[in-house]
């Protein structure tokens, strides 16, 4: 049991970023009915921008700002110019549209920055708490805190504020909401901006915890989808818990004899299990 502890703690690091990404995905879905396949790609591009800013000698806050601003800006551009063209189509098509965005962003990032090995170093890497053979670095603690804080903030936003109400109305029925006086463009803007901000932050944290590599970061959105599925694409707390569980199980699975080469499949297996065991799909189709 004791030998599990280091992996449990290590898994919390990646798990918290899965949780954060999952919340970002669910928020946009609840506000606009679009599942953002480009979430990972936006984060990846933001992370590379942050690396370039740091490489140029600018301070850390500039890197964070540049990263989040890039992701938010691109997300907003998509939300303003392309998403409205698909607004009348069903949810699946609108989500597949973001897939096109993901391919464009991923291709650009790989082409522009190339494949030399890079590392995104954050100052919080150096500090940490030592617990039983493993060190929980400052970055991972921050990821955990940020994931929980942003989840709470978004939950409050959706439940208690006017803009949150309008976002939920828009997701429920776009046409009716417009008739009732909800400014569609403004609310959409907020939703896409929020999603972009989440993407930027997740991208930075993942690039630090995992690896600064565009294709990998783009497709790390798939385990984030798994967390979102476990949260039924609706409940934010469930998504956070799911993300953490996925991260921890993926890390501790390395100890299972024979299963270790397959442990990257843990997010997918969990998502499929959830779908089989809890087939209530009324909310989701």
């Amino acid at each position: 049991m004791l030998e599990l502890l280091p992996f449990l703690i290590s898994g919390l690091g990646v798990g918290s970023v899965y949780a954060l990404s999952g919340v970002g995905l669910v928020v946009l879905y609840r506000a606009s009915g679009v599942l953002n396949f480009a979430f990972g790609a936006l984060g990846a591009l933001g992370a590379y921008v942050a690396w370039t800013v740091l490489d140029a000698g600018l301070p850390m806050w500039a890197a964070w700002l540049a990263s989040v601003a890039t992701a938010m800006g691109l997300s907003l551009l998509y939300g303003w110019f392309i998403a409205p063209l698909l607004a009348e189509r069903d949810s699946t098509i609108r989500s597949i549209g973001t897939l096109g965005l993901a391919l464009v962003l991923m291709g650009f990032t790989e082409w522009y920055w190339g494949s030399s090995p890079r590392r995104l170093i954050l100052p919080t890497d150096a500090i940490g708490i030592d617990l039983a053979d493993v060190r929980l670095t400052g970055t991972r603690i921050i990821s955990l805190v940020v994931a929980l804080a942003m989840m709470a903030a978004i939950a409050l936003l959706l439940a208690r504020t006017r803009i949150g109400l309008k976002m939920r109305a828009l997701a429920n029925d776009r046409g009716l909401s417009a008739v009732l006086g909800v400014y569609v463009l403004r609310v959409d803007t907020v939703a896409w901006l929020l999603s972009g901000a989440f993407a930027g932050v997740s991208g930075l944290l993942l690039a630090n915890i995992v690896r600064l590599q565009a294709t990998l970061l783009t497709f790390l959105v798939i385990p984030a989808f798994a967390a979102a599925i476990l949260g039924r694409l609706h409940s934010l707390p469930a998504t956070v818990v799911a993300g953490l569980v996925i991260g921890v199980l993926e890390a501790t699975a390395i100890l299972l004899p024979g299963f270790a080469p397959f442990r990257t499949a843990v997010p997918f297996l969990l998502a499929l299990l959830a779908i089989i065991l809890f087939p209530n799909t009324q909310r989701l189709a």
Binding site: T92, W111, T215, F219, P223, F262, F268, T281, A285
Partner: protein, 353 residues
Amino acid sequence: MTELPPLKADLALRLRSVRRLRLRSLWQMLLVLFALALLLPLCANGYWIKTLVSAAAIATAVSGSALLYGQLGLVSLCQYALVGVGGWTALRLSHGLHWPFELCVLAAGIAASATGMIAGLPALRMKGLYLALVTLMMAGGYQVLISAMGFPDGGEGWLGRAQGTDRVLMARPALAESDGGYLTYAMLWLAAILGLVEWHKRSKPGRAWALIRRGEAAANAAGVDVLRYQTWAFGLAGFCAGVGGAILAGGVGQLDGRAFGASESVMLFALSVVGGVYHWLGVLLAGLLLRAVPALLTDYGVNGYLATMFFGASLVHALTTAQRGIAGQWLDGIAALSHRLRGSRVTPGVRHD
């Protein structure tokens, strides 16, 4: 003999002409594919023959993906994983049991079909976005599985991996040993699969699918067993993927576990939509986009990632403006041209009484 009242006579006439047009389009398709099968090996050089074999194999898989999306509006993001399942089965049977090539292809199709149906069972009650997500999860899981397992290459044991011995290439059919001959063979399989899909579209399953697409309520009211026909569609799409995988394995000789990531399935779906899911020409175009265009760019030394950007942009374009894909735009262009040439004053698509 009483004459049919005018409306009914009109209807019978229209039905007859529709049937005639459809039969003609089926013959057109088969003719074009046979012509390509015979002419392409003669015109293309070594590099392009190999590329077109891959394009034909992928087009076979795309026909399944296009069927699911075009006929039923279902997004399947695991088609390339099913290609892998088919390829694995074909390689295992060929190396291990030395079955004739055609049997390996059929077995591959059946294996992928069964996998598609079993894996799709939980998803069958779902639509739209959830189906897309579930199939994406399956593709992700397959990626991990096949990266660790690898494909059979002549070795012993269940996995058939060669340890410490030479890797064996898959045995090709006796009449199609050379690359050119194999290209003809692959095109014939593509024609067979497309013919199978077209036959489905024109008979009972096709009508059931059209009703299901309108709405489950409408389908149920008409007495269509939705579950059965949806499963059938999944099975057929899986069969197309499996056959494609076997043809791909025979073409390259061996398959690599690292080339079957979830991203490949996603690209396959994306380019099916760009090619056009409502017509067989779209299927061919998607195969070319997936294999021939990157080969062309490689020939000219263009960075592969620029192609990825171009495909992403094409997908968005196809979804927003060109919903019938490139094939749709070409067919519209051909139709407009032929009408102009015939000097007809009848505008296509408008009903004249």
